[in-house]
Symmetry: C2
Amino acid sequence: MDTTIDDRHPPAADLRLSTVLAALADPARLATVRALATVGDSPCSELHHTTGLRISRSTFSHHQRILREAGIIRERIHGAQRILSVRRDDLDTCFPGLLGAILDTSDALLGAP
Amino acid sequence: MDTTIDDRHPPAADLRLSTVLAALADPARLATVRALATVGDSPCSELHHTTGLRISRSTFSHHQRILREAGIIRERIHGAQRILSVRRDDLDTCFPGLLGAILDTSDALLGAP
DNA sequence: CGATGACGTCGATATCTATCGAACACTACG
DNA sequence: CGTAGTGTTCGATAGATATCGACGTCATCG
């Protein structure tokens, strides 16, 4: 019963490096993507908790939108909740090695917590 | 007779991923770094011309500062001018594969011109 | 149906950032 | 010494962005 809303997800061909980097530049979003990448799939609220970020739900939703519009994460509707995942394949196709380099970086070198 | 001003350059140990990504997220700075990487070394004014960016010298100087403070470029004083170069070694040490992924991306996928 | 839980959107706000021109500092050269 | 070239810094400004709480929407569960 899962649904994907493609309207809100840019096709792989439309991904732009500047946009992706801008999305990943924010510490909260960087932490979110890294957490999501290690977990695999996760509903919003669970991910919000996993990251341990002390930001409101609306702010988290805002970051989530930035990441989605940049083409970094995908949203899948499952009942009342949305399952998030990293668009590894598309990212690796457009920017080979980029995601890997970002995920391989040690926590100590991330930035402001 | 070249001089390096270390005060203004963060040591490799202080580089942070968020900061580096934020610095590279701006299309003008991204183009600057890519141009500099292909050229090797270049004085400011020459690089400013190479990139073809239609921004003022003061704005270019601003971007240059952001890149330097992020640890991405190095400045070396040579007479009246400053020679810029990419800190490949330090970047590769801290964030293996990151710079390569960014330089390997095709021009069409960069972002706003 | 009514309540609850999960999210998104809106409007407001405070901060950051990109941009510019003018003014300044320094080197080189005559 | 004066002029030209190179680059930075300052002050101002317009636009972006991160943040929040309140409200609306949709699904689920009783």
